[in-house]
């Protein structure tokens, strides 16, 4: 077997892996390898040809490929080693990485640190159990996005989209612009998980209807999709009998959620979090296994790539610190726990003593949309900090920066809740 040694191996060459590798290099690590299974770097950004990326990180509005190219150039300039068309098969707890490609054959890489940056994948028809036949024409929205934007295939002409998250909305506009008829976007929840600007610019602009609290209850068609049955749902998201109607269509796009892709992490013995579906990490994005880090959508699904970049820079920096002689641990670990109306918080714990750090960013999602809220940070019963937001919704990640000087040695847990202003 082809054996190689690297200080740092980054699994995945999307925005998370690229930023992590770049930062590790800038912190002094020189011996870095990125492993990417596609034929090029950039990850899913390459198919996200719409604008709206980079407003936070670059201060300007870029398309996905422009955002990706910036980081691709950065890692190339730094001389980071890259292997494309390479599938990682296994990462062991000892940080041995097994991979395969058609040039090297089977590869065994002895790494001192590993950053997991595999991203996420889409939930499928099977994951949400839509009954009916199994014709062609049922796609996950991201798959259709790659076909349309990169591979020059149009999935169909008459389209229904299930799920009003951003990918569903963006694909509604894309299919319309490419000449398809988009019959409707259906959303099982009473609110959309997508950004308001996408509802306006992707649906309203083209008079595409958004129907709330409706879902597909049956798929019809023998060889090709012919129609879907749609029903209204009650507050428990159960179809209401008698409300069914049929929409004729040849294409159904599913935008019904993303799942962090953690098969490699689990095999490596990395402990997972029930709610995020990603590894449990400390604020340096280190997992329970020393020297194995995770960042980006493999850790938790982000709303904006800008936050993926920020998080991955943290992971890259901590990995560099680890490689350069270790990380000082706090005497006492601080657990970070979600309180009222908070779905999850990443990181799940604060364990490191970092000299030059000014802030620890807590990333979280609320459980339900609320207006005029106060986000409170507690240590035990003591309130440390609060901030007001005009609106929170589950589709948008909330960043809550905690100043380093507020984190003291006698703490053992932090809690965040989101309540109505004044309560």
């Amino acid at each position: 077997m082809n054996k190689q040694e690297y200080e740092l191996v980054v699994v995945g060459g999307g925005p998370a892996g690229l930023a992590a590798a770049q930062e590790a290099y800038d912190q002094g690590v020189r011996d870095i390898l990125i492993l990417e299974r596609d034929f090029e770097l950039g990850g899913i950004l390459q198919q996200c040809i719409h604008n709206g990326f980079g407003l936070h990180y670059f201060g300007e509005e870029l398309t996905g490929p422009e955002y990706a190219q910036q980081f691709m150039e950065n890692v190339r300039e730094r001389g980071v080693d890259i292997k494309l068309d390479t599938m990682v098969l296994e990462v062991t707890p000892e940080k041995d990485v097994y991979a395969i490609n058609s040039d090297d054959g089977m590869l065994y890489i002895d790494a001192e640190a590993v950053i997991l940056a595999m991203g996420c994948r889409e939930r499928t028809r099977e994951a949400i159990d839509i009954p009916g036949t199994r014709p062609a024409g049922v796609y996950s929205a991201g798959t259709a996005q790659r076909y349309v934007n990169m591979e020059q295939w149009i999935p169909g002409e008459k389209v229904v989209i299930l799920g009003s998250g951003d990918i569903g909305l963006i694909m509604a506009r894309r299919m319309h612009l490419e000449g398809a008829e988009v019959e409707a976007v259906l959303e099982i929840m009473p609110f959309s998980g997508g950004l308001v600007r996408n509802i306006v610019q992707c649906l309203d602009d083209f008079d595409i209807p958004l129907r709330m609290q409706q879902t597909v209850t049956e798929i019809h068609g023998k060889d090709r999709l012919e129609a879907v049955t749609v029903a209204e749902v009650d507050e428990n998201m159960q179809p209401i009998p008698g409300t069914e109607y049929k929409i004729e269509c040849d294409t159904l796009l599913l935008s019904v959620g993303l799942i962090p892709e953690n098969e490699l992490s689990k095999d490596a013995g990395v402990k997972m979090h029930d709610v995020t579906g990603g590894p449990i990490v400390n604020e340096g994005r280190e997992t329970n296994i020393e020297g194995i880090f995770a960042c980006g959508n493999v850790l938790h699904v982000h709303d904006l790539v800008d936050w993926v970049t920020e998080e991955s820079l943290v992971a890259g920096k901590t990995a560099a610190n680890y490689l350069q002689g270790g990380i000082d641990k706090r005497e006492q670990e601080i657990e970070v726990n979600p309180g009222e109306n908070v779905g999850y918080i990443v990181p799940q714990k604060i364990t490191n003593d970092v000299e030059d750090r000014k802030l620890v960013d807590l990333y979280m999602r609320c459980k339900k949309p609320m207006e005029h809220v106060t986000i409170n940070l507690y240590s035990g019963d003591k309130k440390l900090l609060d901030k007001n937001e005009r609106r929170v919704e589950p589709g948008e990640m909330i960043t809550f920066p905690v100043p380093e000087q507020m984190i003291s040695d006698d703490m053992d847990s932090l809690k965040v809740d989101i309540v109505k202003e004044g309560e």
Partner: protein
């Protein structure tokens, strides 16, 4: 007689539903429902001259992919999006393409250019 026009402001994630009151001379006489100054600017512009960035793709011969992503380098009039798609569909580029390459200059006399948004090397 004045008329009320509803516009969802997208200056921030709040997404305020803003009402514009427009008189018979098409002057905006009242703006209501916005939570901040940015909302006023947005809805005025959105009422008078709605513009959009158009992200789409153009065909490429001999590249590692058959398409290269493109966009308008400035927002263009919203009413011309469909026509612009037809203009872009007529184009076939030759690889290699570089990020920023002008694919169509001054599309539909809008003063806006269609530019490539990534490098696309030769196959």
């Amino acid at each position: 007689m004045s008329e009320t026009v509803e516009i969802t402001c997208i200056s921030c994630p709040m997404g305020c539903d803003v009402e514009l009151e427009v008189n018979e001379d098409d002057d905006i006489v009242d703006i209501d429902g916005n939570s901040c100054q940015a909302g006023i600017e947005y809805v005025k512009n959105e009422y008078r001259n709605p513009t959009r960035i158009l992200p789409t793709t153009a065909r490429v011969k001999g590249g590692v992919l058959p398409l290269v992503p493109v966009k308008t380098d400035e927002p263009m009039p919203k009413g011309l999006l469909d026509e612009a798609m037809e203009e872009i569909a007529k184009v076939e580029l030759e690889a290699p393409v570089e990020l920023g390459d002008v694919v169509i200059e001054n599309i539909l006399d809008t003063g806006v250019n269609i530019v490539a948004t990534r490098d696309l090397p030769k196959k």
